[in-house]
Subunit: 461 residues, 2 copies
DNA sequence: AAATTTGTCTATTTACATTTC
DNA sequence: GGAAATGTAAATAGACAAATT
């Protein structure tokens, strides 16, 4: 046992354990959590090595390991062998993006929503649908997976996304988030690790944290995952899966190159792991083949209609290899038994008809117009994105943090989301915010928001 | 270390570990799981004490503990201090009740569904609703918790269930199963234990198993939980919560006495734990106050509309204490972001209008008629239930197992569900099957099924 | 390229609590 | 009612592997 000569040792954290605390590891974990939440330990801080901390506290190193593990599963820490343990950048900002009503008169440029110009067309279809003779059957129980014709319609939708599938591999869920949670719950278990981009859709962060699944950021080259780095990471971090959004990555609006799609497909095939491909924005952009096209037996593809068609639909189509289908279906059943038959039918009729084209065109037109407006005001700054993407990644001048800008924008009347909300584990957050161009009610409202943001940016330069 | 003189020791299980297996506890757990699944170890079998097994294998007792724990979390074992470790009765029959279409021409008396007589009325309401001027807003994003007026309607519905609540404590979910999973995921964590009846709604079994939550059967008196036994169990098994269905318990159709409701309320208040009260069938039976009435600060009440109104609605109202609301809301958000605005609105209009009365009356009339029919055929046998309950618990003559009867019935063309599908942990399954009286399309179809079941029962006497 | 740093994981030791007899 | 049986869980020791220097 070491003597207590640690007063001069450069320890970033010096917890005090009660002399007669009954459960050392629990108390240590609790103190660590409190110190992180109270800001005593800041994101990015390197903790002392487990052995040093153990010596300092005069306890066994494995006890420290166990305390750290508790916090790691909560998403507060991330560590790697040889390098050390760090406080996650998203430890504090892990608040989920829930808002109860539009409290103030904030201009909404936070949530990623499509414009609502097409809702009338969809409603017309619904009206026709429920006046049909045997419409009341849609209030009965439907088979959990949806009817055959609904899956045929899903197949058509997936085909548009560039994926050749088969009705036997298709599942219906209550939207993309529902699909994602079902996939995580059905195919992964407590403690498993999944590789993701350094900044990622927050929905997967909260769902993974709820299920005790760890997200590991994959370092990037050219603003996207890199095949070589990914291969190493799969091995090193024992990843059980990858999550990726190749078309208009949320939040960076980046479109993944064809080469990287192929490289990722090769990597998951070689290592025999699962890739969860989120095709939420696939139909908005250019028709580059999805990763699932190159690795059909390893890809769970999620095609959500909420962002591409209408938010109120709450529907997503999932295409998966047969070996995984039963497990995902069981998880979907656990989460919600089945989707609403009316919504399933409505979505199917949209997907199988010309209405889908008309809807996509209207969305496209509106999105392009709004992006033109956005570039006109913010083009001077690094406003990453594309004319048909419903959000942009605004890189801030100087060393302004996203959180700071988000707060300032909110005070000025505009809701945007800071990079810190999206960052994963020990990755360093960009100096950026995500701005949603289609969420404001009208173009006029958007323009108001853009004027406010531009003024803020100018002040900060 | 002991010498190997165990050949004569009466050990119920003698696994063989490879000499140079690197991970003892994992291999032991794997073998145990395989032997259970392959039927080498039968449900109810007592395993050797951990120390005996450790001696036999010449390994440390804690290694056995760890192997057992892996299997316990999978729901394969259940153990208690002093008594030993047993193979769960539901270890093998843990198949979830999913059916893809009505494969054969089986008469459906398995799934618990309400009759479909009211669907036309609901559809009419929906038609009116979506022809209103601003109907297209229901295709936009709604606030995750539902609108204020929708929550007001929910409050009325809950009031009918005998619960005084407040809009600030109400949440909307995609049906009862969705609510249950959200509650389990939001308020409990991996490894937590929840007390349940010995036979329980299978949906909670699969959801709990997915989340790594253990269900502990509470031994019964007079066919229901008992306050005293419950108090002991909470302490002994360190229960974090209770799950109960006081009105028409699924599958036994038992209605809990007022005394026991009060006793359970007292127990959870005293021990400061959570009770999840499933009020799915509350509106069908007599208006006895729910447990939540006596312990409002400890009760999460689920009022599902799928079984009481129409399956296609996929909607449930949750009333919970304020301290838990945010955690459940976050879980709901993770599972499905929000409910479909159209369904939420439709459900609200039903709940707030006279239509609800009319619907409940129609259901009641049909259910009574079908139960009369059922008693006429099966009344001679122990056919537990009530005239307004949509299912019955048929106790089988002699020592016929539920599984055996289910198989025979299926061969004869009727789907029923065996007690083994519902039993929890080391509880002993009843000799019984659940029969659903409202699931068959028509009374004629029901009668056909009843004739078949009666014939089978006669043969077995 | 080898030595060192550092986190991860498994088996073990030990204390403890509950149930049974 | 006390001893024995039995499961639970924390703390520790030590082997291992990846990353750093």
């Amino acid at each position: 046992m070491p003597v207590n000569s640690f007063e001069n040792y450069p320890m970033s954290w010096k917890p005090v354990l009660g002399k007669n605390s009954r459960h050392l590891y629990k108390e240590l974990a609790k103190q660590l959590e409190e110190d992180i939440i109270n800001g005593v330990l800041l994101p990015g801080t390197k903790l002392p090595p487990q052995r040093e901390l153990a010596d300092f506290l005069d306890i066994n190193a494995s006890t420290v390991t166990k305390a750290f593990k508790v916090c790691t599963l909560k998403g507060l820490l991330s560590s790697s062998v040889g390098r050390g343990t760090y406080i996650s950048y998203d430890a504090v900002s892990n608040t989920y993006l829930l808002k109860e009503g539009n409290d103030d008169k904030l201009i909404e440029m936070g949530a990623t929503l499509p414009d609502s110009t097409v809702n009338k067309d969809i409603l017309e279809l619904l009206q026709k649908m429920i006046t049909e003779p045997d419409a009341s059957r849609w209030l009965s129980y439907n088979s959990p997976g949806g009817s055959d014709w609904q899956k045929e319609a899903a197949k058509r939708y997936l085909h548009r996304c560039g994926l050749e599938s088969d009705v036997s591999r298709i599942l219906l869920t209550n939207g993309g988030q529902n699909a994602l949670t079902a996939i995580l719950a059905g195919l992964f278990k407590y403690g498993d690790r999944i590789g993701v981009d350094t900044h990622v859709y927050p929905g997967i962060k909260t769902a993974a944290s709820m299920l005790g699944i760890n997200l590991i950021p994959i370092h990037q080259k050219n603003r996207e995952m890199d095949g070589g780095i990914l291969l190493q990471a799969i091995q090193k971090d024992k990843l059980k899966g990858i999550y990726a959004i190749p078309a208009y990555q949320n939040p960076t609006a980046h479109t993944m190159s064809l080469e990287t799609r192929k490289a990722i497909a090769d990597a998951v095939k070689k290592k025999e792991i699962i890739i969860i491909e989120d095709g939420t924005y696939q139909l908005l952009g250019k028709p580059i083949p999805p990763i699932g096209f190159f690795a059909p037996e390893n890809t769970i593809y999620i095609a959500g209609l909420s962002k591409a068609v209408a938010p109120g639909l709450r529907m997503a189509y999932v295409a998966c290899p047969e070996v995984y289908k039963n497990r995902i279906a069981a998880a979907v059943y656990n989460l919600n038994v089945s989707v609403s038959p009316i919504m399933a039918e409505l979505a199917a009729r949209i997907s199988a008809s010309d209405l889908l084209d008309s809807i996509m065109n209207k969305h496209k037109k509106e999105t392009i117009a709004r992006n033109e407006l956005t570039v006109r005001y913010l083009g001077k700054w690094g406003c990453m994105g594309d004319e048909t993407c419903i959000f942009r990644w605004l890189r801030l001048p100087g060393h302004i943090s996203g959180t700071f800008f988000e707060e300032r924008a909110k005070s000025a009347g505009v809701q945007v989301y800071a990079a810190e909300r999206f960052v994963v584990g020990n990755a360093v957050p960009d100096h950026a915010v995500r701005i949603s161009v289609c969420a404001p009610e009208s173009r006029e409202e958007l323009e108001k928001g853009l004027i406010i943001l531009k003024k803020l940016l100018k002040e900060m330069e």
